[in-house]
């Protein structure tokens, strides 16, 4: 067994807590200061524990302040601040887009190219994060806030305003939300609604009364019929990782993982071997990093990456000892 360290971490922690309280809450007298200096000089871990204890102690104030603050849902943005939201939205566009912005201000239509994910802040403080190759149209009126998803996928964080309901329309599906977080995606003829926080009501245009979809549930409207499913929180998080510029695969097949990677990557990853394409894969990648994905997959499956004009080919190594 390998032994690392001296095993007195706990003692150090206790001393650090005592010193952190003394030095934060009142000035130290001379002899105390000398003892603290000596203690800190005795080893760098004492210093680290001391810093950490002070950081934790100061962090408590932040949480207490959160506790005493009115709930954020109750706070509505003052009208005078609306222009600030526009300004933030505009700066976000500039920051996130780079080139090729397709933002038609009059029509309120925003779209993204293959390799971009973009966040919009709307005038009421609601946020829309648009996945790659997606388009959304913003139609805000006095009595309602409506967004129309034209293609792709978007996630919404809705500012509470019960006087102005928030609707997202995607094909025949209309989602109504009041102060909540959810995402809507369109793929082929399916519309998928995933709720991260709160409740939304989904109307399907098929005469059935609207259904309520709760936190960590998904609703899929497909030509073959609609269904509702309960998701694990981790699964919801995983599905929405694109918003953070990440792709998270957790037991996905290499085929579907590479399709997702290729959605954003300028150089496609191609897997010719069907048995390799079926292999399950776990990993986290930044959007756009097709190369990193290919080499990590190659490492995991003892394969190789061969670069050809049409993309990065991932293949099995011949005579590999593990196959």
């Amino acid at each position: 067994m390998v032994k690392i360290g001296s095993g007195d971490g706990d003692k150090v922690e206790a001393e650090a807590a005592a010193w952190a309280i003394l030095s934060t809450e009142r000035p130290l007298d001379q002899s105390e200061q000398q003892r603290l200096d000596a203690w800190l000089a005795a080893g760098s871990r004492n210093l680290g524990a001391f810093i950490r204890a002070q950081a934790i102690w100061s962090d408590v104030d932040r949480v207490v302040a959160l506790d005493q603050r009115p709930q954020p849902e109750a706070v509505e943005p003052a009208p005078s601040r609306r222009w600030r939201y526009y300004a933030i939205a505009a700066s976000l566009l500039v920051a996130l887009v780079g080139g090729g912005t397709a933002y038609d201000r009059l029509a309120g239509r925003v779209s993204t190219g293959r390799t971009e994910v973009r966040e919009l802040v709307l005038e009421d403080g609601s946020r829309v994060t648009l996945n790659g190759d997606s388009a959304v149209q913003v139609r805000y009126a006095a009595g309602e806030r409506r967004l129309i998803l034209r293609r792709g996928e978007a996630s919404f964080s809705v500012a509470h305003d019960s006087a102005r309901p928030f609707y997202v329309t995607a094909g025949d599906v209309t989602v109504r939300a009041v102060g909540t977080r959810f995402s809507v995606g369109m793929e082929d003829e399916d519309v998928e609604v995933t709720v991260e926080e709160g409740v939304v009501s989904v109307a399907d245009d098929d005469g059935v009364p609207p259904r309520l979809i709760h936190r960590n549930e998904e609703f899929v409207a497909a030509p073959t019929g609609s269904r509702k499913a309960v998701l694990e929180e981790a699964e919801v998080e995983r599905r929405l990782a694109w918003r953070r510029g990440l792709l998270i695969f957790n037991g996905d097949s290499l085929r579907s993982a590479s399709a997702e990677v290729n959605r954003y990557s300028p150089v496609p990853v191609i897997i010719d071997d069907p048995t390799l394409a079926r292999a399950e894969f776990v990993g986290v990648f930044r959007i756009g990093e097709g190369r990193a994905f290919a080499s990590a997959a190659a490492q995991a499956f003892n394969g190789v990456v061969v670069e050809r004009p049409d993309g990065l080919h991932l293949m099995r190594q011949q005579n590999s000892p593990s196959h």
Binding site: M1, V2, K3, I4, G5, S6, G7, G9, D10, V12, E13, A14, A17, A18, A20, I21, L22, E25, R26, S44, R45, N46, L47, G48, A49, I51, R52, A53, Q54, A55, I56, S58, D59, V60, D61, R62, V63, V64, L66, A234, E237, R238, A241, R244, G245, L246, I248, F249, N250, F281, V282, G283, V284, F285, R286, A296, Q299, A300, N302, S322
Partner: protein
């Protein structure tokens, strides 16, 4: 940045990533039963404290890399480590993330966690902590109200801080998904090596 500013920087930029870092490290140090994570964490804080904080662009990645170096140094010193483990430490793949992405605990969850911890404190300790942090009373006032010496109040507060710090280590802080993802991916990579 003054001392208080640097402490706040640690609270804001390092503390939220510590649970992830501990988990990330503990997975990698599975074979090393008596490896003391607390000591690695303490050493990492000390080293980051010595750095120019303004220049650290990605504190999360910085924390992870620092911890990795510390473990690496200790392993080299111990001289009886498997080659695989050393190789593993060299190739660790750190996902550097946008700021805030891992802070999955919502404000509500943080508040609930704090109250949960407060409930675990011994009564006197809890009373002193509440008066200090919630009522923002000066130490002298707390001592007077509780009818004890100021040094006793300091002991109660230190005890409270100690408990909070311990609970923080025990809580699954954030980024469960990714931690799991990295973990499994990691084992796969290892198994095939």
């Amino acid at each position: 940045m003054d001392h208080a500013g640097r402490i706040r920087w640690f609270a804001r930029e390092v503390l939220p990533h510590e649970p992830d870092m501990r988990r990330w490290l503990s997975v990698r140090l599975r074979g090393l039963e008596s490896c003391d994570l607390d000591e690695v964490v303490q050493e990492a804080y000390a080293r980051i404290w010595g750095a120019e904080l303004e220049k650290i662009l990605n504190p999360r990645a910085y924390l992870f890399v620092t911890a990795r170096h510390i473990v690496g140094e200790q392993l080299r010193r111990s001289r009886i480590v498997s080659i695989e483990l050393m190789a593993d430490l060299e190739v660790l793949n750190i996902v550097d993330d946008d700021e805030g992405a891992e802070r999955r605990l919502s404000g509500q969850e943080e508040i609930a966690r704090l109250h949960r911890i407060i409930e675990k404190l011994p009564p006197k300790c809890r009373q002193a902590f509440r008066m200090k942090k919630f009522d923002e009373l000066p130490q002298r006032e707390i001592a007077a109200r509780m009818g004890v010496a100021e040094s006793t109040v300091e002991k109660h507060l230190a005890k409270a801080l100690r408990v909070i710090s311990k609970e923080m280590n025990a809580e699954p802080g954030a980024a469960e998904v990714r931690a799991r993802g990295e973990d499994r991916f990691w084992r796969w990579g290892q198994g095939r090596g």
